[in-house]
Every structure is written in structure tokens, then in C-alpha cells.
Symmetry: C2
Subunit: 348 residues, 2 copies
């Protein structure tokens, strides 16, 4: 494990994207958002994805000079066409659009089509916070690992959901969750470490618990709450995918296995302007009070204290801004190998 | 078990509400919505609640002549004050408001405060369907049975979520779920039948599985997906409760135990006008195709076929419209006893 600073990592990512043809300002924006993912502890969605992004860019699957724009619009909504650009750029544009519209409309729902993988869900749900707005983000995942409940054909992804709510003195409340019990990245990590999975993460095609992560390809992830998680994954997909004319169901492209096909990724971001509902300070104090009550709950035996959604990310941020971002050596090696190929200065 | 017709049950409920002072048109509207719950198979949220509603009306907890109105408004949102009226009337008004606004705004989010229990979530999420709109409904439940993850103080309810999406020739897709593995009503039913609960429904204050439903008061419900369901219940509560100035957390009134206090129930209903995003017929055909693909999935051993969210409700509706609504004898007896007290003609 080695620690690198935010600045170092941002520069490295930016230079890497520039080396494959993305213009400097856009490369910088993507780098900033990817590093933000690492800073908040979303390791599976930050610089870890860089080799894959570069591979897909080299494969021609992503548009380096996209014309990202609003193609349909009304007072409370917009539909953004990402022109197959990097997801971070598309979602940044879409979220800014939602925030701008919510100033007037109170609430604005922005759907997105023809985008790409954009990192962790909370990256976009938290953007409205500094404008005293609530953010709600939905997305269609970029690989199907989930069958419908009772089925064995993997027609659904782990379609994530994030909601971020501003507070006063307490930390904002930030939920960021996939609709499966475990994310597929966690399965891969167990396989790398040679560890078994707990029951409840995956099942095989006979419906039996699958515990050996090296056999992951023989089974599928399990949704939270059984048929409820299946329903949630399906409905999130309808809202973030189908409604926007983006890929959903069997049209989803597995971006881990395919380096040449556009994914037509769909997202939705909703900005809710608190001031439209009540005075902002009153609302924030109510959130603080609720957070305080929840944190003060007596605990189960063996539990030190109750946590709020998002707390872990803010703790990771504090640590990483001070001490740098920890990168496992195999990841660092692969990044430096990528740098050598692209004739970019190595990371560390 | 005895079957009664939709007409019979509507008339009975309407007359009962009229007998305690609700005007004829409003009593009729509540009756229609309550029966719709029974027709779609949401037995725990239909006529089963009538004795409780009447008890709370007699206790002075509900306003019989509410001035339900929009108190804040922008292009993409409204805040409705229910003036402590029956939840069905308040949510019917709020949903109509959302639908009207979504015609212009594309998407409209309507928050609700000072309402009451309004029946099953899908009742309101499905109202936009006939206008070729998607409905999304959130609510704060009316009794706290859920502690924050790791805690033992019951600060959260089973805050439900419903999303309904229109289709072409297939049935609409309608998700209606609580954020706990089991609803509290299911626990009560097991207790009445003298049956044990499966592991995973409830735990006791030691964190051990609670299997005997007669001991339910000694423990609490479990959220779906562990900390994820806790987060979902919390964020739904923030959106449907706190944002609207409605009760949330320790302010939630247990409407099963309390017949005299206003609940200040909060809800949110979002209407999404499909036409703002794409031609309605195209969208509906895409939904049909997705539904078809999911229904065609190969199945796990022992599973006859894959089901879509909402399918069960549409099957119940078909049966009940033809054969009447089945009422268990103890429920029928309690309804007829109520009728005798209020000098209303008995149900059957």
C-alpha cells in the first residue's frame, strides 16, 4: 500500500486522459471527479477504473469530443443526450442542469441517455448539497449480474440509488447503495484474497448458496430483501434507463468484457430545492435533530454506536485529504504500466 | 370467509363514515379508495382499517372537515397541507395536483404534511398511469417498529415506496414495498394463527432472531439488506416527512395505540409525464419488451415462472371484481358490530 496526494493523483489521471486524446479541461474535470471517488472511500469507482476506461477509449467505445446537450426540456425536467462521452462529464452537466432548473422549478428531474460509467452514485447525489438542495441519483449499472427473482437469466444490473440531504452542524446524510446484497467488486476482491463469501451474497443456478468467489461465473448476485430488491433494481432501471431511451435489460453492454461497443448508459438526477418547501435553516436544524436522535440510540450488545449513512465516507475523506489516498501495490503497478505505455510520467 | 361485492362494501364504508360526521361526497371518495385497496389484495390497508379509523375519528384525532390546500408552489413542485383530514382525501388531492402540474412541467413532486394514514402506497403511485405518467410515492409509516442499524430504539417506521410504470399490452409494472423484510401486519397474522415466524423477520434486544410472534413487543422488525434497508427507511422519511414539515423519527405517533393525537403524516407523490421524455407509444412498447424478456427468463429449479412486480395485485383485482371481496368472519363480525354501534345497516 502506498499513499499518493490528491494533487498527484489528479495530475496523473488528467495526463493519462490527455494522452489518449481528451482535451485538457475535460481531462481535468474527469480526473477531479475520479479522485473525489477515491477520497470518499469509493475505491471500486475511482482510479481503479482508469485502465478499463483507457482500454475502452482505445477500443473506440467512447466519444472523446462529445456534444453533451439538453434534447428535451420542460419546467421541471430535462433529457440530456451524453453523445457517448465519458460518464463523468455527462453526469456533471446533467447535475448542473438539474440544480439550475430547481432554482426556479423547486424540483427538477433530469434524465440522461447515451452516457457511460460515471463512478459512484453519491458523487452526483451530493453535488446539489452546497446549493442547499437534496440530490437523488439513479443509474442503470454497466453489467448484468442479477436475474429477476426466481429466474436465472441475468437481465438486471445492481442498479444503484443515492440520496443526499443537507444538514446544519451534523454531516449530510448520504445514502449510496446498490440493490444487491454485495457489489460484484466485493466478490472479485474475495477471489483475489482467496477468501470465501458469506451465505446470502450469491447463489448458483440450482438456487444453492454460492460461497466460493472463484466460481462466481457459475451463479449470480442476490438482491436485497429477495423479490423486493429485484423490484427495486427493475424500477430503477425503468426510470434511469427505459424512460430516457437508454439501455436496460438485455440491451445492457457488459463494459468489463467489451471494449468497443457504446453502452448507452442511462442515469437520472433529481435536485430538490429545500427553500421551495420550507426555510432552509429550519430544515437543516430538523435534519440535525433527527441525526442526533438516531446517533443517540441505545445499541445492540457488541455494537459501539449507531452510524448514519455517509458517515464512513466523510471519515475516509478527512483521512485521505490529510494523509493521501492509499493505493494497493498491484493497482499502483498497473497504473504505472499504463503510464509507460502512454508515455506519461509515472504516479510514484 | 364470506365474499361481498365492491358496491356493498363501498356503500357500507361510506355510510359508516357519514355516521361519524363526514359529508357524503368525501365519505364516498374514502370508501372508493379503501375498497380499491381490498380489490387489489392489500387486505391490511383496506376495510380492515375501518374500526381503527372510526375509533380515531371518535377520539378527535382526525379533522372531519379539512381545508386541504396547496401552501407552497413552484413549477415543478407543490407542498400540500392536509389540515389533518383523512389521508385518502389528502393524498387524492396531492396526486391530482402532481398530475396537473406534470402536464406542463414534465415532472412534478408534491410533498404532503398534516395528513393521515392513506392506505397502500400503490393506490397513489398507480393514479398517474391513466394519464400516461409514471407515479412514485413515498410515505412515513404511522408506527415505529424499526431501530437504526445496530440500535435498539425504534426511531423509524417501515417507510414504504411505490413506483408504477405504464405499459402497452402488458400489465403496468407496480412496485409497492415496505423497507422491512416483513410488514408488522404479517407478524400480527402469524400471532393470530399461532404460527412461528421465519428467521430474518424480527430480532430481539439481544440481536437474536425472534421467531415467536406473540413476543413481537420484545423486539423489532429487520430492514431489507441490513444497513441498506435502514438507510432507505431513513432517507424516505427525510423526503416524505422532514422535508414537508411532517412527523419523522421520535415525533411519529403510533396510530395503533393512540386515538386522540394528530399524526402529522407526511407523504410525497411524484408524477412523471412520459411524453416529456419520448413518444408515449414508443415508451410503452419498450416497457412491454422488457416485461416480456423478464417473464421469459429461464427459472430456478422448482419455480414455475418469473413474476413482475404488481402482477399479484392485478390477479387479485380480476378475481375480486368477478367474485367479490373475501372477508374473514372475525373481520366481518367486527364490522357488523361497528355498524350496530353507529346504527348503520350491517354489511352482510
Amino acid at each position: 500500500m502506498k499513499r499518493v496526494s490528491v494533487r498527484q493523483l489528479e495530475t496523473f489521471i488528467q495526463k493519462t486522459f490527455e494522452a489518449v486524446g481528451i482535451a485538457e479541461p475535460e481531462a481535468g474535470l474527469i480526473a477531479e471527479l475520479m479522485v473525489r471517488a477515491d477520497v470518499q472511500g469509493s475505491e471500486g469507482h475511482g482510479v481503479f477504473r482508469l485502465p478499463q476506461y483507457i482500454r475502452r477509449i482505445k477500443g473506440g467505445a467512447v466519444n472523446l469530443k462529445p456534444d453533451i446537450r439538453v434534447v428535451r426540456e420542460a419546467a421541471g425536467m430535462a433529457l440530456v443526450d451524453g453523445d457517448n462521452g465519458m460518464g463523468h462529464l455527462v453526469m456533471r452537466f446533467a447535475t448542473q442542469t438539474a440544480i439550475e432548473k430547481a432554482r426556479q422549478a423547486g424540483v427538477a428531474w433530469v434524465g440522461v441517455r447515451r452516457s457511460n460509467h460515471a463512478g459512484p452514485a453519491s458523487l452526483y447525489a451530493t453535488m446539489p448539497l452546497e446549493h442547499d438542495m437534496i440530490g437523488l441519483y439513479l443509474a442503470v449499472g454497466n453489467a448484468n449480474h442479477l436475474p429477476p427473482w426466481g429466474g436465472i437469466d441475468m437481465l438486471l444490473s445492481t442498479n444503484p440509488l443515492a440520496i443526499a440531504v443537507p444538514s446544519d452542524e451534523e454531516l449530510p446524510v448520504v445514502l449510496d447503495m446498490a440493490t444487491t446484497v454485495a457489489a460484484y467488486g466485493k466478490v472479485k476482491t474475495r477471489a483475489q484474497r482467496g477468501e470465501m463469501m458469506p451465505e446470502g451474497w450469491m447463489m448458483d443456478r440450482e438456487g444453492k448458496p454460492l460461497l466460493d468467489p472463484r466460481r462466481a461465473a457459475e451463479g449470480f448476485l442476490l438482491p436485497i430483501g429477495g423479490y423486493k430488491g429485484y423490484g427495486l433494481a427493475l424500477l430503477i432501471g425503468l426510470l434511469a434507463g427505459t424512460l430516457n431511451g437508454a439501455a436496460m435489460g438485455k440491451d445492457v453492454v457488459d463494459f468489463n468484457a467489451d471494449d468497443t461497443t457504446a453502452t448507452n448508459t442511462g442515469h437520472a438526477i433529481v435536485a430538490i430545492n429545500v427553500a421551495a418547501f420550507q426555510p432552509v435553516e429550519e430544515f437543516k436544524k430538523s435534519v440535525d435533530m433527527l441525526v442526533h436522535d438516531i446517533r443517540s440510540s441505545r445499541t445492540l450488545p457488541g455494537v459501539d454506536r449507531v452510524r448514519l449513512p455517509g458517515e464512513g465516507s466523510y471519515a475516509a475523506r478527512a483521512d485521505r485529504l490529510e494523509n493521501g489516498i492509499p493505493l494497493p501495490m498491484p493497482l499502483l503497478d498497473s497504473l504505472n504500466q499504463l503510464a509507460a505505455e502512454l508515455k506519461v510520467a509515472p504516479l510514484a
